[in-house]
Amino acid sequence: MSKFAKKKDGEVPAVSTASLPDIVFMLLFFFMTVTVMKDSTLKVENVLPNANEVKKLEKKDRVIYIYVGKPTREYEKVYGTEPQIQLNDKFAKPSEVGDYILMERAKKPQELQNVLTTALKVDKNASMGLISDIKQELRKVNALKVNYTTYEGDAFRNLQ
């Protein structure tokens, strides 16, 4: 009987699962590093427009978010179908934007208070009237740096 006898044909060796934990850990670390915990639930529809001349918003701690859009279906009955402003977790009127900015600004450390950016996350179907009101409020509280948050893409797709 030879030591190097031929194996029986037709038998596929089982796939080794020894590397499974490694793979899972790799994925785990990937998702751990890219995860951003959501801080507010969206109550408005928020499909952003596209633009290609964009700049990245670095440093999350220096950004104040304002959401604008049509209320989602569950809030439609109470707030109607016209675009609304959402600050943190609740709906707000344009006149409340200024106070909100001041409040958020006061929460930030002193050295960041002058370099804050206001990110306007506006649904592409909103009309400019509401945005103009917000802009006016922002000017009143001297929050002049704004960022119209968009998706990266061809700007002409907005027009369709």
């Binding site: 945005i131 002049l144 119209y148």
Partner: protein
């Protein structure tokens, strides 16, 4: 072991939102009016009006949004001031039309929109105007430093760039910005 890792993996998978944090940076004008009235020649202003149907009026001409970038670039790059005058623009490659802007430093784009203009249209117009500036700045950056302005700026703003590189870039970026300063004025919206 693998079970715990799986559990964590699924948790992070579910909570992950890869955020879209990029957009058009703009500065709003301060609310206090300037101390003295600045007199600006009509030829140095490029009027852009968007009506509620998303139609565009640029310098009293009805144009398509796809032509706006070209128009804005022609206006900014015009350099109409004659040679020898203090406003003379040596790097401009435009038509040098005396009835259009004197120099990029003097040229102002004024953007007006209706209250019923759609936000998407407004962003497209903003994007084209910012694009016009970026294209011109790219051209100058390419000529002076052999690099694109947007790349230089992105590297400058990147927090991972080292301080020495940053200092060097800052000077270059500012120089280009001075050649084509972004003067985009937004008047308050009209109701009619």
């Amino acid at each position: 072991m693998a079970d715990i890792a799986f559990l964590l993996l699924i948790f992070f998978l579910v909570t992950t939102t890869i955020e879209t944090d990029a957009g058009l940076d703009r500065m709003l004008p301060p609310i206090e009016p300037p101390d003295q009235d600045v007199v600006i020649k009509q030829k140095n202003i490029f009027q852009v009006n968007i009506n509620k149907n998303g139609q565009l009026l640029a310098d009293d001409e009805l144009i398509e949004i796809s032509n706006l970038r070209e128009k804005a670039m022609a206006f900014l790059d015009n350099g109409g001031a004659p040679q020898g005058s203090p406003d003379y623009c040596s790097y401009c490659k435009g038509a040098r039309d005396a009835s259009s802007s004197d120099s990029p430093a003097k040229a102002i784009i004024s953007l007006k929109n209706d209250r019923e203009t759609k936000y998407a249209t407004y962003i497209t117009v903003q994007n084209e105007l910012v694009g016009a500036y970026n294209d011109l700045r790219d051209r100058e950056a390419q000529r002076l430093y052999g690099k694109k302005f947007v790349d230089m700026e992105a590297e400058y703003l990147n927090p991972e760039t080292s301080d020495e590189v940053k200092d060097e870039l800052k000077e270059k970026v500012q120089r280009i910005q001075e050649l084509f300063p972004q003067k985009l004025s937004e008047a308050e919206t009209t109701t009619n």
